[in-house]
Chain length 326, copies 4
Amino acid sequence: MDKNKIKNIGVLTSGGDSPGMNAAIRSVVRTSLYYDIQVTGIMRGFEGLIGEEFIPMNRKSVANIIQRGGTILKTARSDAFYTKEGRQKAYDNLKKNGIDALVVIGGEGTFTGANIFGKEFDIPVIGMPGTIDNDLIGTDFTIGYDTAINTVIDAVDKIRDTAESHDRLFIVEVMGKDSGLIALRSGIGVGAEAILIPESRTDVDQLFKRLASGRKDKASKIIIVAEGDEIGGFEITELIKEKFPNYDTRLSILGHIQRGGRPSCMDRVLASRLGVAAVEALLNGQKNMMVGLVNHNIHYTPFYNAVKHLSEADPRLLKIVNILSL
Amino acid sequence: MDKNKIKNIGVLTSGGDSPGMNAAIRSVVRTSLYYDIQVTGIMRGFEGLIGEEFIPMNRKSVANIIQRGGTILKTARSDAFYTKEGRQKAYDNLKKNGIDALVVIGGEGTFTGANIFGKEFDIPVIGMPGTIDNDLIGTDFTIGYDTAINTVIDAVDKIRDTAESHDRLFIVEVMGKDSGLIALRSGIGVGAEAILIPESRTDVDQLFKRLASGRKDKASKIIIVAEGDEIGGFEITELIKEKFPNYDTRLSILGHIQRGGRPSCMDRVLASRLGVAAVEALLNGQKNMMVGLVNHNIHYTPFYNAVKHLSEADPRLLKIVNILSL
Amino acid sequence: MDKNKIKNIGVLTSGGDSPGMNAAIRSVVRTSLYYDIQVTGIMRGFEGLIGEEFIPMNRKSVANIIQRGGTILKTARSDAFYTKEGRQKAYDNLKKNGIDALVVIGGEGTFTGANIFGKEFDIPVIGMPGTIDNDLIGTDFTIGYDTAINTVIDAVDKIRDTAESHDRLFIVEVMGKDSGLIALRSGIGVGAEAILIPESRTDVDQLFKRLASGRKDKASKIIIVAEGDEIGGFEITELIKEKFPNYDTRLSILGHIQRGGRPSCMDRVLASRLGVAAVEALLNGQKNMMVGLVNHNIHYTPFYNAVKHLSEADPRLLKIVNILSL
Amino acid sequence: MDKNKIKNIGVLTSGGDSPGMNAAIRSVVRTSLYYDIQVTGIMRGFEGLIGEEFIPMNRKSVANIIQRGGTILKTARSDAFYTKEGRQKAYDNLKKNGIDALVVIGGEGTFTGANIFGKEFDIPVIGMPGTIDNDLIGTDFTIGYDTAINTVIDAVDKIRDTAESHDRLFIVEVMGKDSGLIALRSGIGVGAEAILIPESRTDVDQLFKRLASGRKDKASKIIIVAEGDEIGGFEITELIKEKFPNYDTRLSILGHIQRGGRPSCMDRVLASRLGVAAVEALLNGQKNMMVGLVNHNIHYTPFYNAVKHLSEADPRLLKIVNILSL
């Protein structure tokens, strides 16, 4: 490793926040210090890059944050970064402050921006997947996904208590505008009757048949719907109420609780590993790559590939749903 | 105590379920057994009373349930119980099965029904306050309230993580159609900027002034709104978005997670104490009373009084909100 | 209120930490600011008072801490404060920094020290009860107690899972060197078979009889022991193993997890109310008092009274244990 | 798949219980029913096999258990199964009850017994890895491990609150008699200063050096020790106290809470997938195999291989500890 070339690494979080981002920041900071490199925290994502909201980071800056949800560097969406002027300003600020490499923690939008920036300017950028959606190519899991699905099952376990008590049918809408991955895994985790996701067509007739037949030996039911599903939580609730007027059917939209909370152990370990890998990638001269974990090994994927969308859900999980929910 | 008169106590849960109902059932069953009285579980509230859904209960029936949300006896709303015929059927079933006293666990609707029933027929009925709303006269806390407010603060602590990261203003709507008690105490618990409840007029202008002035030193904010508030979560969100278009304002409706979950220690202890008191009240010849805890002592309130509505929020708590949220 | 006399309130936490201390600090700071009084944070309790570890506090200092366990002001035991010289140094530091009143958050030791200090020097001191033990006279609950008993029942609910699976008898030792209040309420909350506390003699023969008779219809059992019980967790485990060699008997000592964690809603509300009351008490010219909540109302108790020890457990709770555990 | 050969599958849990065993049982039962095969629950592991404690299982038997810790089939250690007579009795019971295949859920001891049994008698046996220790060859994770490490970090996050408040050094002993895998991953998850595991020699001098040097910029510290470490929690605490008498050093042994609790989402999904795979393996004529998940794919490992011990900790994780704890 030629550690001499890079002297100061900037780190930022961008896009929707996810639990484990703080553990990721901590890892980037401590790994940099381990390799005798300075670290600069950049507030509010690309917005703070343009606005020069920079803070020097040391061990103390990241003490006692590994367990906290959210991101101490805050995050924001930046329209300015989509302009050439904005990115030029960002680059000038980096040069001015002696920052010669960047770690960006975020999702699709973050990497799309980072990719343009990294190609326009002579600054190596490495990405870490920080999003609850788990919808990136090049990593088995994104930082925050495991916590989010645990938050969902905690909530649905509570809803199940009241569903059981009243013999109710609950439709629970979970996050995932373009991806059903939160719905799929949490749906298996709560033993859902059905899971509706954008990756597959929802056969309403089959769902109705299932609901009708299963009614006898299992009174309360949970249906998990991803917010990006073609029908959606609200609509499917209305359809079920119309078809089964004698069922006690309710809709619950879990909302923003899914983005917060203390990160799970797996998210903290993932964030810690990827932070080390991100800094070492920069030291090894890599750039425009997202660092991920594939089959428990560190894996690098070019930004433009990482953001390509998964169009299919994991058939191994879909099969399980089919067998176990019958 | 003349234990000889009562030989078999029926117990049921009715209305909306609340965490701690199982601890309450357990206490009624074990206390009855302690006094050598049989206990019969009645399924689905008054509906099961009319439908003769009776189960004999013993120590085993209530083993390992003290920690569970929901109610093993299930609950339902019963239209039939509002008819004279329904109540007559219910009474006949009790006589037929040798049940000579009743403990009903629920809220306002439950006690209103129990009051009519207890006056029409020669059967002593004692009520236990099981509702998350804490809106009954004659007890400082209802069984389930403490758990519900802890569920709310858990959820809002998660929302705060993402609010902080994005400098967002979150409006969080909590349960309480007629009562702001969940909103009030959980609002203090999360350090809310403002708390909107049905018991007091919402001064929108003052709220706007507060939001405008506080913006500088505290970027993220939480506003708690009871669902029964005259304006309501949705409307107030729209008003704020219109007035402060540059704020990042979001609405989150917590919904049914507030009814479920493992009961808190206080709810379990409360349910345990009130269960003992309910059975002992029957043994002492009382009837048509709700048993509650006032200033840590057992207190009996006639049903017709218990269901009278609190029209004012506790001024001692309102004062705190005013001082601490400034 | 004559607000003019007091210009700067010092606040410190002392003794063992308890969840809700941060909510208490926040309330003291925000209430002071509400009344246009400056606030100074004193680090590490009386030790920092002597060492002049002072920090000016503002709204930002207490932002986003209401939900955190521990204390941002840290805490320590101070031998120096037990000397006249130490206390003189402390007083000189207060004068030097213009601090003319003190709020101390802690337990028995804290108030004993505060009482001496408040009588020796011309400085009004008000105490807030911050301890998980709930062993102070003059308040129904101390800040941290409710969280601690919830932490205990969370842990025991987990232990019960494995106890049930193996039909094991678990002895669980909880905190409480001089007081059985954590044991008593959490023991009721988990449905313990027996609860051993320092306030009452442990009748081992009766316990053995109970364990022998109950074995048939309830295989797994939980016994809660306060660490200050005359026999203690280790000893009672040995005695049971000897008497019932065929039982699968295990000891679990919960330890320091009981001091930490996000405070419960009730602890946050209690801390918030008492913080307001503490500052207002100073403004009203009170001193050498602990502020507490008795029957939901603010109550002031002289320090020397607050620290007198409760020698008896609440008979209303003991009765419940006796009935429900049979 | 020739489903005709197998008509009735027996399922049991054995050895130490782990969270997710109920989700595993549920999956085995529902998958069997999906393939029109009967399922028989065998109570208390091999002990119930010998004692003929059999229960027919249907959809209702496994309703509402996916979220519960422990095992509804209970578990026990069986000395009798280590005798030829015991195993003969077990086989006779299976034949007598028409059970023609077996799914055993457990760890090392369970599979060792199953291996002998499966070779002695003409009955196909498939194993599912249910243990919190994660110490089996042939699966990346065992059912219960993810929950256990989350329980550990929850507990240590609480301990950290009090450690921070007092500037204390905490030694936390976690489960793992032969394996440091719980210690390793949870240690990374809490940002431990050092992690002591049986797989590697503990260099006490280096640990002392680290503790001495790091004292200045990070006052509170956490050291995680696996119970099987050559030095162990108690001993290392004594050594540190002796070397650093001015540190406030405490030991906390987490104990049996690590075995219980609601399973995490990942453990539920893992248990669900492996249950399907176990039943399908039997249908496909496999036997004497443990089913596991390797790189997210189903993987079969002969029992005798699965129980071979991992002698080394994952170097990828050890490296992270080294970098991040400095």
